[in-house]
Amino acid sequence: MSNATMRETNRLTTSRFRIAPGFVAIAIATIALFAVGGLLAPSSVSHSAIVGMLPFAAVLAIAGLGQMLVVQQGGIDLSVAGGISLAVVISTHEPAGDDSKLGPAILMAVAFAIGAGLINGILVSRLRLNSIIATLGMNALLYGAVFAVSGGTPRSTTKLLASVADGTTWGIPNAAFFAIGALVVVSVLTKKTVAGRRFEAIGANPAAARAVGLRVRVHQTLSFVWAQLLYCLAGVLLAGITNQPTAFQGDSLLLPSVAVVVLAGTSLLGGRGFPISTVIAALFLRQLQQFVLALGVDTSVQTLVQAIALAVGVALYSVNWASVRRRLITPKTSQAIPV
């Protein structure tokens, strides 16, 4: 028994220092993308292209971090589109160009985010609803709120929000600092605090966590609240970056937010999360968009290239290549290997 414990402890210790395969894959892919971009479409790695791309990568990174927290609990959050759109609408329509009203408007957006997150969390963790169904319904409710607040018409961004979200500090877009801030907060909270370690453990195996006495439902509920707060931040930034946003600005972020989580190597079944990889994946997706735009190919080809890159990126580490190799090269010996 003590031997077994020792063995388990050793394995846990070594796994802590192992670099996640998802991180390796996405980091190599991103570096390769910049290298290929420099060769085939040099304008895609020029200073102006990167400075223009970074704010949108930052918004996607923040939304992706939110989505990651929900995915870690084995869920998926489809209310990301509604959450971002509502934050965009509130932070532009309520102040109506008046900087002094921006603060209260952002507080209002935060209140809505907490409310939406709580409802999502309770529906999924207490009432045991499937997260796809619950968050799809929440998305419709959030769009209802978008119309109730504004009639579906955001206004121009206030000058203050535009200067903060779309400005630069030391030549780096401010939005990138917000993304780094969100990354640090999420990483520290999930990796370096007791609550964060419990959060990941619950995601990996809710039944075992419940048996140990962890408050599974509280952690599951809070994952949705944190996610909505991050969507709220993404929405407020997006409102400032685009200046003249639409009421449906979040729609185009729904799929990419899930894509960056998957690209980063977080299992859709829940468990360990990879915040740094998620942020790099957001950078990868946005740079890929710049790359295909810089190539000047047709829009249909642009979409295809992005889809292929996504498929290859996921396949790189989600397929068990060692097993595939074994089966292809030595079919006989593979049967002899004990499982």
């Binding site: 102006s48 791309m53 535009a162 970056i241 685009t242 946003p245 735009l293 190919v297 829009t299």
Partner: protein
């Protein structure tokens, strides 16, 4: 006038009978004015306002932006000019084709006499429009083509001439860079006919010395400000020389144009459609950007007025307008200040359209009241 309306009623009845007998719609001849004169809106008692009392409904496929709010308010304002319209109702499809179709059916059932329809879903709306028309309602779709034929599927289609916008832009581009140059043309979703028509208009004026450096026929932006910004960033990085940007949705560029300054370049000349936010952006930035000249055509909020004129004329027995196509007038030119210099109302919302006939305060009210 009464005779004309009874003729319309007989025609509708005959068409309905033919449909019932043959089980399919017969090919009708296109009715209505085919003149190409300029849009006219008469002050006082307009000639399109007949004596028969009617109920009118305005339907939107998607009402969720400030342009639509101003357009809706413009339609209502036009209706008020005619006392024969006793009831005015509005429905917003919220971008949902199913709801837009059921809106038409609901208004038909309620017994409205005339409808003006902004059919965002295009041809998908034609069956609903046709059935309302066959039920005896005067139906005037406008701006977005729905297929079908006037007199068979609806009363009259009131389109907008986007070719005309392209011609106006082309002429101005020629005046600003007479010896040719690099043009960047941004439009909405891939395949949208508006962008194709505008390009046709520009090409009819500009020769080969004017090179379009965008993806053919135009860079796809979906009229989404975020995508517009991304696309413009890529084009700026790729092309060291952009002489004129052409866009059919000017205000969506306000967030994107600062990308030039971030790259240490002047914002180039811009041919587009108007918006208060854009005018104010030009005023704030033209000093620091020597190449930033601005030319706008009206965004066309008043297209709805021509549609209302047609619908009311056909339903009340008034005289229909001579034109069935709205041609957006040139609005601002920062070079010649003709017909207007660039306008900016800094203390009013950025989302109003100073080119629209609707007074500024009414536009502000329309936006603020959702």
């Amino acid at each position: 006038m009464k005779r004309r309306s009874s003729l319309t009623a007989i025609a509708a009845t005959v068409a309905l009978a033919a449909l019932a007998l043959a089980g399919c719609s017969s090919a009708g001849t296109s009715s209505g004015g085919s003149g190409s004169g300029k849009t006219t809106h008469l002050a006082g008692a307009p000639s399109w306002c007949g004596t028969k009392k009617i109920k009118l409904a305005q339907l939107d496929g998607f009402g969720g932006n400030s342009w639509r709010l101003v357009t809706t308010a413009s339609g209502e304002d036009e209706v008020k000019k005619c006392a024969s319209v006793t009831s005015y109702q509005y429905a917003n499809g919220n971008g949902d084709t199913q709801k837009s179709i059921s809106d038409i059916q609901a208004f038909t059932a309620k017994g409205v006499d005339a409808m003006v329809v902004f059919a965002d879903a295009g041809q998908a709306m034609l069956p609903a429009i046709r059935s309302a028309y066959k039920a005896g309602v005067v139906v005037v779709p406008y701006r977005v083509e729905v297929g079908g034929k006037a007199g068979t599927d609806y009363t009259q289609f009131v389109g907008a001439s986007f070719v005309n916008d392209g011609v106006n832009w082309g002429k101005w581009i020629k005046s600003v860079i007479p010896s040719g140059g690099n043009l960047l043309f941004l439009s909405g979703p891939k395949g949208n006919s508006q962008g194709n028509d505008e390009l046709k208009g520009m090409k009819s004026v500009l020769d080969d010395s004017y090179k379009f450096i965008n993806e053919a026929p135009y860079d796809v932006t979906n009229w989404d400000p975020a995508l517009t910004q991304t696309v413009l960033t890529a084009e700026i990085a790729k092309n060291s020389k952009i002489d004129v940007i052409v866009s059919d949705f000017g205000p969506s560029l306000v967030g994107a144009l600062p990308v030039f300054q971030k790259s240490g370049r002047s914002i180039p000349a811009l041919a587009t459609s108007d918006g208060n936010a854009l005018g104010c952006f030009w005023k704030d930035n033209q000093a620091a950007n020597p190449d930033f000249k601005l030319f706008t055509v009206a965004t066309g909020n008043d297209n709805v007025r021509l549609a209302v004129d047609w619908a009311v004329a056909k339903a009340t027995g008034g005289t229909p307008p001579t034109s069935n196509t709205f041609e957006a007038p040139v609005f601002e030119d920062s070079v010649s200040s003709s017909p207007n210099p660039v306008e900016c109302e800094a203390n009013l919302p950025g989302d109003i359209y100073l080119s629209a006939q609707l007074p500024k305060d009414q536009q502000t009210a329309a936006i603020n009241n959702k």
